[in-house]
Amino acid sequence: MLEAIAFYLLAGVAVLSAFAVVAARNPVHSVLFLILTFFNAAGLFVLLGAEFLAMLLIVVYVGAVAVLFLFVVMMLDVDFVELKQGFLKYMPLGGLVGAFLLGELILVTSAVRGSGLYTDSPAGLPDGVTNAERIGRVLYTDYLLLFQLAGLVLFVAMIGAIVLTLRRRDGVKRQDIHKQVGRTRKQGVESKDVLPGQGLG
């Protein structure tokens, strides 16, 4: 009973806020609704008994990715009126993409349901084995190669991002801490003998 209430509340808010992401006029509001959606999805994970995944969803998506979204969207200077005008123009294309996604989701769900992989109850965990341990065991044994490959892809992407954004310009004053700390009196101070009546010339 309580579980059902929790499920419908979380799922309902998730769907509504997902709709609001698209419907909201203000892009910052959209991102905030997106965060609400993530949060509710995490709640659904907890209901399924997958608390580790739920926490990861919050840490990674809500705590890091969405912050960057918000960061970028806030910096944009968006004209709300102009945004509204494009809505009808992009409606057919957006509708098409949405329809495809919905169709695929239905297909996948029915395929999994028919195959018997799907059970109504959360996966039975033996006592004392936590969620995190279970996932770790599978990830680092059976799927080690795939896991490492995924890590490699992320690594390459990270280096790519750095290379793309890194630019060295001439004439920019930079602070080099090592240089600064390593400077000795000899390098920094020059003593000159000032003769009376002549100055330094």
Binding site: L2, V28, L32, F52, G63, A64, M74, N131, A132
Partner: protein, 368 residues
């Protein structure tokens, strides 16, 4: 918290209702305790700050100014809430509420004495990490919704700062988790129950496993230092209070806030500091255990935990009083170029230690 004593029930309740009532009671008890502690922690903070500068600090309201925080509270609540004309009203009001709520939500999994915890989550530490990583939203939303330059800059600064330091906090957490082998906070405390040589910060005293203790002891003490400094940055405390640097940004994201919304921001901020103190206790300083042995009595344990909390808060207050503010690029350099590589190496060392030396048998605590 489950006395196995036979007692005649006063009234019989449905187990679900009874559970809900009991949890509500526990939550209320923790909230009241936190708010009361906060009133005096705030005063303590100001007193320490004043003492460092050879001032007396607040000393008018009540004996030694003990009731200063309550007077401040009344003042905040009585004032008018001013919402700027161009502000985004909903988000403007939502921001402090979010900060306040999240700050309390984290305390749900913090064990404050043996067995005294509202929700003994299996993934307790991840929950803490997740919820405290949401704290940035209150600030960035407040900064944006104020529709003003200085708050906005403050919000952006804090977003970058908190995201940066979360990374090193995460790695420090991993080193501790590796040594314990559990994500449960009660297990983490009980892993350090034998004495000060098992406290994660002082593993160097664990001479039984010489010479490995030298390596892991040095690494874990360094982790304590990194965690402490990152906690300062994460809670926007001086010397990392750049989001509200008064010399550059007036008061950062708080410029437009007044009255109760400001109060909520402030309570949230100080609650986060208190939480960081509690986390340092739990992760590194043995929680409610004494340096010479375990404590299993709830009340005694609570007192010890509380005393350690105040001691840690004293450290936070002293840092605020004696360290000058960092420059922004120095802050980023410290986070990304020093703390991140150091903690990453520490994770590798801790993993190697666990693989080759092993860890004490884990006292399993059932999740609730």
């Amino acid at each position: 918290m489950n006395p196995a004593v036979d007692y005649v029930p006063f009234i019989t309740l449905d187990p679900g209702v009874e559970w809900a009532l009991m949890k509500t009671g526990q939550i209320l008890a923790i909230m009241v305790m936190l708010l009361l502690s906060l009133a005096f922690l705030l005063l303590f903070d100001r007193k320490v700050w004043a003492a460092v500068q050879l001032r007396k600090g607040p000393n008018v309201v009540g004996p030694f100014g003990l009731f200063q925080s309550f007077a401040d509270f009344l003042k905040f609540v009585m004032k008018e809430i001013v919402i700027p004309a161009g502000a985004n009203k909903t988000v403007f009001i939502l921001a402090p509420l979010l900060t306040f709520t999240l700050a309390f939500a984290t305390w749900a999994v913090v064990p404050i004495a043996p067995g005294w915890v509202v929700s003994n989550l299996n993934v307790g530490i991840l929950y803490l990490f997740a919820i405290s990583s949401l704290g940035v939203y209150g600030i960035i939303m407040g900064g944006w919704a104020s529709n003003s330059k200085y708050p906005f800059l403050g919000g952006l600064r804090s977003a970058a700062q908190m995201v940066s330091y979360e990374v090193s906090i995460g790695f420090v957490l991993i080193t501790v988790l590796l040594l314990v082998g559990s994500l449960n906070l009660t297990s983490i405390v009980d892993n350090q129950r034998d004495g000060i040589w098992m406290w994660h910060a002082f593993r160097i005293f664990n001479v039984a496993e010489f010479p490995a203790n030298l390596l892991i002891g040095a690494v874990m003490f360094a982790m304590l230092v990194i965690f402490f400094i990152s906690a300062l940055a994460e809670t926007n405390r001086p010397p990392f209070d750049l989001p509200e640097a008064e010399s550059e940004l007036v008061a950062g994201y708080q410029v437009e806030y007044s009255s109760t919304p400001y109060l909520l921001f402030m309570i949230g901020e100080y609650l986060n500091i208190t939480l960081m103190c509690a986390m340092i206790n739990i992760l590194f300083l043995g929680g409610w255990h004494l340096p010479w042995g375990p404590v299993d009595n709830e009340w005694l344990g609570f007192l010890i935990f509380y005393a350690k909390l105040w001691a840690m808060f004293f450290m936070f207050a002293m840092v605020k009083a004696i360290v000058p503010r960092y420059r922004y690029d120095q802050l980023m350099r410290l986070g990304w170029k020093i703390f991140l590589p150091t903690s990453l190496v520490a994770v590798a060392i801790a993993a190697g230690y666990v693989t080759y030396i092993g860890r004490p048998a884990l006292t399993t605590v059932a999740g609730g």
